[in-house]
Each structure stands twice: as C-alpha cells, then as structure tokens.
C-alpha cells in the first residue's frame, strides 16, 4: 500500500532564511503525482506546488521549490526567503492516477514556525 511519511512534526526558521521540509513515500508505481499543501491558521488547504513523477525537472513556484528524488522516493519542499505568512501546517500528498481509485494519500503534516 502506498504511504506518505513526514518525519518532522515541527520546524522553525528565521524570517528571510531557507527551510526544507521532508517527505518520503512508498509506492511500486512509476507514474504518479506529488503535492505540497499549506494549511494556515484559517485551516483552508492551499496548493503550494505539484510534481509529476515522469518529469525529472524539479517544480518551482516563486519562493517554493521541491527536491524530487524518484529513486529514493523523496519529495522535499524548500522555502526560500521565509516570510511570516509562511507559518502554517504543510502536508505532503501522493496520487497514483493508474491505481483505479481516486484517492489522495496525505502525510501527517509538518508545522512550520517562522521567527521574526
């Protein structure tokens, strides 16, 4: 069964510095999607970044980028120039489009604190 693991329950970063959140997953598939979602105090889940497994190039969205290591089944999120508004829970998620189901599997989340 596919699983998603976020081993860091909580992380802290100084404002303007860089932080990396870790995510590993377990799958026997070769084609799948990976996501990072942000959940601020408002609780609404917001898509941060998306990666397709068949693309070797790491996805980037402004200050957010991923380090996708397919062989290692690792999908970390790097936040550069951290801002106070980046403080939130971050969830890693996996989706296999060929699984015959429509499920997205989420990790347990990492709480990011940004220190002024």
């Amino acid at each position: 069964a596919q699983t998603v693991t976020q081993s860091q329950p909580e992380m802290s970063v100084q404002e303007a510095e860089t932080v990396t959140l870790s995510c590993t997953y377990d799958t026997s598939e070769s084609d799948y999607y990976l996501f990072w979602y942000k959940q601020p105090p408002s609780r609404q889940m917001i898509l941060v970044i998306r990666q397709e497994a068949y693309k070797q190039q790491n996805a980037t969205e402004n200050r957010f980028s991923v380090n996708f290591q397919k062989a290692a089944k690792s999908f970390s999120l790097k936040i550069s120039d951290s801002q106070l508004g980046d403080a939130a829970m971050y969830f890693c998620a996996y989706r296999n489009p060929l699984s015959g189901t429509y499920k997205y599997i989420f990790g347990t989340g990492t709480r990011l604190k940004v220190l002024a």
């Binding site: 979602y37 408002s42 609780r43 609404q44 889940m45 898509l47 998306r50 429509y102 499920k103 997205y104």
Partner: protein, 115 residues
C-alpha cells in the same frame, strides 16, 4: 474559473442531533468530489469520494453518510451525531485536465463541535 464553497463554516451541535454539510463546485462539470475529516492536530482522513451523481464510495465505516444529488453538489450527513464526530471537515474536488490536472482543491472547511 473554478471555485468550491462549503457551508456552514462553523456549527455546534448536541449529541444525537442530525448533521448536514453542503459543498458545491462552480465552473466545471463532472468533478470528482471528496469529503475529508481532520481531527485536532491530526492529518487528513478520507471519508467519502464520488465520481458522479449518486455514486459514493465510503472509506471508513462510521456514523456519517454522503450524497451527491447533483453533478456539482456533495452533501455530508448524519442522522445522530456522536461526540467523536467533532472535527474539521473539508470538501475537495479534483481537476481532470489542464496545467494542474489530477490536483485536488479544497473548500474553506467546516468546524463541527458536538457537545
């Protein structure tokens, strides 16, 4: 553009009372729809998903049910709430195509407290 709305945002219900949370999606057709629950300090638990009108798949045996009476409407219900039903409920929909195909997007969420 596509949008998703769910309501009510917050509700406090006594044990044994019924529940109805509603979710609607605009700007798309035939979306996959999902209900997730997030207990305090926990991750997301998939409750139900639907691939079409009247088609509901349940992931976890529970006190809740879901219905999809229209293509872009998804309802989460309970006949008699339990204390353990308290939590944050999120509706989501999945894109089929486009730059962000196969991505799910979430509604604003509903806080349910059962007292």
């Amino acid at each position: 553009s596509q949008t998703i709305h769910q309501w009510p945002a917050t509700l406090v219900q006594p044990v044994g009372s019924p529940l109805s949370l509603e979710c609607t999606v605009e700007g798309t057709s035939n979306p996959n729809l999902y209900w997730y629950r997030q207990a305090a300090g926990r991750g997301l638990q998939l409750l139900f998903y639907s691939v079409g009108i009247g088609q509901i798949s349940s992931e976890v045996p529970q006190n809740l049910s879901a219905s999809r009476p229209q293509d872009r409407q998804f309802i989460l219900s309970s006949k008699k709430l339990l204390l353990s039903d308290s939590g944050f409920y999120l509706c989501a929909w999945r894109t089929w195509t486009g730059v962000n195909g196969n991505t799910i997007y979430f509604g604003e969420g509903s806080w349910l407290t059962v007292v």
